[in-house]
């Protein structure tokens, strides 16, 4: 019985996602036309004389009208060809592949650390509502949310890399030869990012669990003599999963595109820096491809959160 409504939901979601992707690609292309300057100017920089510009534009087929370049690009995408970078001439797969893996590794490790920790802290704060522990968690999360991540990252580098010399200041995956290296190399960036994404998740988890604990069925469970742990885990948490999953999805969605500061400070070649480079050099096919990746990742996360919400809630499941 679960299959058909779920399939319909997922089918609808995928269709909406595809429409969103087409819209995003059009919007990105249109906005890129509003940026002053093009890739030929970016290549020539200070030495862009009108004659040199005209020659280079012609050689790069930039003299064609914008709609035609968009259609050519879209046609390529439909046949599975994302095109070539205008700056390096490399195919997109080569430009993006390794960096996407890097970004996913960093995001995955951050999620691995931050999601369980945030859930545990949020639930504990909710259970011990009003105690010193709860207040400490609240103050800490508000404090961390208000500090910009570059400050956290820079201070962490100065303490752990420069002063104590425990950890490397740069994150190079080439220095990873064992699990221990992995922990050492990723400790600082994951710490900086986890601070940033966890605060939101902790606060949402706490609020959702408190809401559930205040309901009459939890009250009833307590009156029946259930242990506090059982009340929280069996009765409150399943009903709080929906908002928590959404909070997690929203927090994690910033881990691909929104980590430019951390990528720069730790010299980590991820996809956010690639996007900045692509915009700065007006490399339109690359901008398009990366925008599509950001958009896809966001849609996957949000859709997953919705599906989890439905799966976790019997009332929605059987409607």
């Amino acid at each position: 019985m679960i299959h058909s409504p779920l399939m319909v939901l997922i089918g609808r979601r995928v269709a909406a996602a595809l429409a969103t992707l087409i819209f995003v690609s059009l919007a990105v292309f249109a906005i890129a036309q509003l940026m002053e300057g093009d890739v030929a100017e970016a290549i020539l920089g200070q030495s862009a004389t009108p004659e040199a510009l005209a020659g280079l534009r012609q050689a790069m087929h930039l003299d064609q009208p914008a709609w035609r370049r968009y259609l050519e690009w879209a046609g390529g995408v439909l046949t599975g060809d994302l095109g070539h970078s205008l700056i390096t001439g490399l195919p997109m797969r080569e430009m993006i592949g390794a960096r996407l893996v890097n970004s996913l590794t960093l995001a995955g490790l951050t999620a691995l650390v931050s999601v369980p920790l945030a859930l545990a802290l949020g639930i504990m704060a909710a259970v011990r509502r009003g105690t010193a522990f709860d207040r400490a968690i609240s103050i800490a999360t508000i404090g961390i949310v208000s500090v910009p991540e570059f400050l956290i990252a820079t201070l962490a580098v100065m303490l752990f890399a420069v002063t104590l010399r425990w950890l490397p200041a740069l994150t190079s995956t080439r220095d990873v030869h064992s699990i221990w290296d992995l922990v050492r190399v990723f400790a600082l960036p994951v710490f900086s990012l986890a601070c940033f994404v966890m605060a939101q998740m902790v606060r949402m988890t706490r609020a959702a669990v408190i809401d559930a604990l205040d309901t009459s069925y939890c009250e009833a469970a307590r009156l029946k003599g259930c242990s506090p742990a059982r009340v929280v885990l069996r009765h409150a948490l399943p009903n709080a999963i929906g908002p928590i999953a959404n909070a997690i999805a929203l927090s994690l969605s910033t881990l691909l595109g929104g980590v430019i500061v951390v990528e720069i400070i730790f010299n980590y070649p991820g996809i956010a820096r690639l996007m900045v480079d692509a915009v700065a050099t007006r490399d339109l096919p690359l901008v398009q491809a990366v925008a599509i990746i950001f958009c896809t990742a966001y849609l996957i996360l949000v859709t997953t959160a919705d599906v989890v919400t439905i799966l976790a809630n019997p009332r929605l499941r059987h409607r």
Binding site: E36, Q46, G55, T105, T154, V157, R273, D277, V308
Partner: protein, 508 residues
Amino acid sequence: MIGRRDAIRLIGGGGLSLGLGACGFTPARPEPSGGRLRVAVAVSSTADTMDPARQTVVSDFCRCAMVYDGLTRLDARSRPQFALAEAIESQDSRDWSIRLRRGVRFHDGSPLTAADVVYSLNRHLDPAVGSKARIFAQQFASVRADGPDHVRLVLESANSDLPTILGISQFQIVRDGTRDFRHPVGTGPMRMVEFAPGVRSLAVRWPDYWRRKVRLGEIELFSISDDSARINALLSGDVDLIHAINPRIAHHLEHAGFDLLVTRSGGYTNLIARLDRGPTSHPDFVAGLKLLLDRETMRNAIFRGYATIGNDQPIAPTNPYFDPSVPQRAFDPDRARHHFARAGMIGARLPIVTSTAADKSDDMAVLIQNAGRRAGVRFDIRRVPSDGYWTNSWMKVPLGFGNVNARPTADIIFTQFFASDAPWNESGWKNARFDSLLRAARGETDEARRKSLYGEMQHLVHDQAGIGIPLFLSSLDAHNPRVKGLRPMPQGGLMGFDFAADAWMEGA
């Protein structure tokens, strides 16, 4: 059927498999003999190139200097020394004969021939190459092979500086027919084994280098664009050599036991007043403007002393053609007021455009603004982003800033920035006397005569052009004391970006 417990397990497991799936462990690489030099510069992006013709930023210059050689190279006094050429001769400074060094091999084993040189020089004329040195190549009337190791180069008009021009980094020699520079092949001291634009590059020693024995084992080069992160990486020992230090931090680094490499260069950040339109075209306004430059405060406050006082003309005191008879212009707001009154500008408001693209122009503009208040003119500072500055603002706004890197010869800087028909005639200054002096000096072979011609040109620019050059800037690099063999070169920081053959690591 998927239950909610499975769903919960799914969320947890997803992150795990995502993270670990990406990592395969490889064994650690041993330190090569001669040591590994790790260099961090400030700027690198997907636009990084190994095409010598397109090199633009410091990381390009460094990487290309590792892999390629030019026909000549410039020494510590900016004079050309023979490199891949063994002799460059001409009777009339127009028809040149170049004899190539014998026995030089590319990294793929093939010998250097005249065909490689002809291809390397001629490709700059093709607009599709996007060469940065096209302006110099346009004076080549013909470049032809004359036997296997002779090249005949005929210029449109006489130019005795050709050997220096051939030392410009963009004229480095590549193999005949090269179009793809992803796996670059040159004759230089290092062989590129990995080049990932915007990520890093790794070059290893080329044991058969013709010029000298290379001591470094390998060089890893990447960028850290955040200033404090770059310095932290040096302090923590994760890099050995960093480029572009903020002058404010320099003495802290010395205190911490690191060495500084201070390079006095001929590069400058200059104030530009367009002479061809608007209120900035009045000669008295321009004269007053140049008197508002408080050079000493700029040097001491903005650059902490790491700069040399300039005199509104582009030839630095270190250049052999520098003319000391040009009177030094002093900071004098009262006399500026007098000039502004004659231009009818007292009480006027003028926007002055600055950008981080023109190094430290923000700070300079603040000092000019303060001085302007005392002289009766209000300057409104308008900061614009560095992205697109050179296309949208530079040379287009009436009052703004430019940023010029050191050029190897007086002829080049005058031709590119001050001749009436120069593409980068920043202030739109037109002077027939200057143009004829420039042509005469270019073909002049008598040194004393040439020096006096360049002297008169410096007077003209100092008095009339709409350019204020307050300072010549020094480039600051810092390195681990283990790195030896580095010395300042006038072409720019990091030994004129060419350190691979000379640097070595102590104890490696």
